[in-house]
């Protein structure tokens, strides 16, 4: 196990480095930020001065060298937009995102597994039909619809649920509720599909044939095997949330990393983009590692 973790850490470090290099050079393809930070009427001298101050005048390789040298001591540089350390900007937002992702994914996982496997137990039954129908709608409806409709119906009528913002626990209800819907629909479908396969598999049939009458025993055994693809998809959805829930953050004024990333990309605030990717990438790598370990836990035959 220790050897596995060591190797994995090394490999991840290399990926992280590759990611940073990739993003550093690719993001520069999107143009010079100078004009975005100066008024339209700014003179050519003012523009030149801005480039000089922000180190945009040097050859790209020199900029890269400087960046890597700073990175070696975990200095991510300053945000052009905010003129404060980029890592501070990112961590402040990431804390919010992490909470939002954790709360949402916990709720989604529990709800989707329970409802999905119940649906799979009676394929084509009423419960299955209803669960399938609504989860599919949830998984394919535009999220801003749900968000705006929730605001104008719920918060305009229920006094203690605010439209948006942060501050009290009530502020979390709508964002979490809206974020819940799509991963819930998707994961429920995967649980259901995977359970159908497993319940139809030979060993479950054998168990039934042998006369294991207790439905719950079959249920638990099947679930254990069905979970393999499910946790993969949970991982994918969690990664999407860690990268930021842009629509929800935008509409609800939630200070997470998704909107920060979009704004930074559109504003060509490269240091923040890189720092944000660095932080979210570490989170995603760790999560993927946990998932891989979970595979082995769920199915001892899997070795690495």
């Amino acid at each position: 196990m220790r050897a596995f973790l060591g190797k994995r850490a090394l490999a991840s470090l290399i990926s992280l480095l590759g990611l940073i290099i990739l993003v550093f050079f690719l993001s520069r393809l999107t143009g010079d930020p100078t004009s975005l930070y100066l008024p339209l009427d700014a003179s050519l001298e003012a523009r030149e001065n801005f480039r000089e101050i922000n180190g945009l005048n040097d050859p790209l390789l020199v900029q890269f060298g400087r960046y890597m040298a700073d990175l070696a001591v975990l200095d991510f540089g300053d945000s052009i937009r905010r003129s404060e350390p980029a890592l501070d900007v990112v961590l402040r937002a990431f804390v919010w995102t992490l909470q939002l992702a954790a709360i949402t994914m916990t709720l989604v996982t529990v709800a989707a597994i329970v409802i999905g496997s119940l649906a799979a137990f009676h394929v084509g039954g009423l419960f299955d039909r209803i669960a399938t129908f609504f989860s599919l709608i949830g998984a394919s409806a535009p999220d801003f619809w749900i968000a705006i409709v929730a605001i104008v119906t719920i918060s305009l009528n229920v006094a203690f649920i605010p439209t948006s913002g942060t501050g009290t626990v009530w502020h979390w209800i709508l964002p979490v509720g809206v974020l819940f819907i799509r991963p819930f629909g998707l994961i429920l479908q995967v649980v259901r599909s995977s359970m159908i396969t497993t319940l139809g598999a030979a060993y479950v049939k054998t168990a039934r044939a042998k006369g294991v009458k207790n439905k719950s025993v079959i249920f638990v055994h099947a679930l254990r095997n069905a979970l393999l693809p499910v946790i993969t998809v949970i991982g994918d959805q969690a990664a999407a949330l860690l990268n930021g829930a842009v629509v929800v953050e935008t509409i609800f004024g939630f200070p997470g990393v998704g909107k920060l990333m979009i704004d930074s990309i559109l504003q060509r605030d490269f240091t923040v983009v890189l720092a944000a990717i660095f932080v979210t990438a570490i989170a995603i790598f760790v999560m993927n590692l946990i998932i891989d370990i979970l595979y082995a836990v769920l199915d001892p035959r899997i070795r690495y």
Binding site: L26, T30, L136, W145, I277
Partner: protein, 313 residues
């Protein structure tokens, strides 16, 4: 229909099995939801192929003074049954015309990511540790590369065309198929029948194709059908940010995002294209659910034999 029914139920020794397509249709008819889904998809495909030819002109004719015409009002003609958009163009015609680009982007992106992702996943699950490690770390990189940044880069350097959108969206969706198929392979390859095949000397290619792929496929297909919606909506948010398809080209995603500011004042602008996305996804999913039942020998009975027996099981 009754013909088939009787053909199946009467145990006639000189009975010849009906042609395969009739059996399939019969099974489809038996599942009313799947049947409706198939019909909807046929309509969508028809629109995607012929829509632009038929309605291109009507769909782009603007009328500022008749903007946001409410739905279910036939006084402007049947094309306005779903209402008019923010420039007074008939929404129905626009949805029909937009289906072509929408389907091209969604089907293209989903198919590419499904094929590439699954292929890499099978390799990662069934080869040496080093190759597997490289592929998986690559997936990590793609997973942590913000899709929006990728979109901005590709579409900044290149044109925001259908082809480039497919590339961007396909790349960002590869990891999910890759990780899912690889996880399944890891498990399936340890199963008895695969081990047995191996002992009997079957080639790796054969084991993957005959034994592993069929087990992995249902989950992948479920994800792929739902990804259809995901890709259409992702395309919508790219349009919203100005790096997706731009007018005068139209997609459902673009219509949804253009209708967004009107959600509280003229809901129909984004509702109908959104509904089109939902219906298409729903149909795809129901049909794929039906297909797996129909194709899976151990499940097929649900659609073939009479209902009484199915209930008693």
């Amino acid at each position: 229909m009754s013909q088939i029914d009787s053909a199946i139920t009467t145990a006639n020794p000189i009975y010849k099995p009906p042609p395969a397509w009739r059996t399939t249709l019969g099974m489809l008819w038996r599942d009313k939801f799947a049947f409706a889904a198939a019909c909807i998809l046929l309509v969508v495909i028809f629109c995607a192929i012929f829509g632009p030819m038929l309605f291109e002109d009507v769909a782009t004719r603007q009328n500022l003074r008749g903007r946001n015409a409410p739905p279910f009002d036939l006084s402007r003609g049947w094309l306005f049954i779903l209402g008019g958009d923010q420039l007074g163009r008939p929404l129905l015609a626009r949805i029909i015309v937009a289906s072509q680009n929408t389907m091209a982007v969604a089907a293209g992106a989903v198919a590419c990511s499904l094929l590439i992702g699954t292929g890499l996943g099978l390799i990662a699950g069934y080869t040496t540790k080093t190759a597997s490690q490289v592929i998986m770390r690559l997936a990590d990189v793609i997973m942590s590369f913000p899709s929006l940044l990728l979109a901005v880069i590709v579409l900044y350097v290149l044109e925001p065309s259908v082809g480039n959108l497919v590339i961007v969206l396909a790349i960002t969706r590869i990891p999910i198929y890759l990780r899912t198929s690889r996880a399944e392979v890891l498990e399936v390859r340890e199963r008895m029948f695969v081990q047995a095949a191996q002992v009997m000397g079957a080639s790796t290619k054969r084991i993957v194709a005959r034994h592993i792929l069929p087990v992995v496929a249902p989950t992948l297909i479920t994800i792929a059908t739902l990804d259809f919606a995901f890709v259409m909506l992702a395309e919508s948010s790219l349009s919203f940010l100005g790096i997706g398809i731009q007018p005068p080209e139209i997609t459902w995603g673009l219509m949804v995002s253009q209708g967004r500011p009107y959600l509280t004042s003229a809901w129909w602008l984004s509702f109908w294209p959104g509904l089109a996305i939902i219906l298409t996804t729903l149909s795809l999913n129901l049909l794929s659910g039906w297909m797996r039942t129909a194709l899976d020998p151990s499940q097929r009975w649900r659609l073939e034999v009479n209902k009484e027996k199915a209930k008693n099981d």
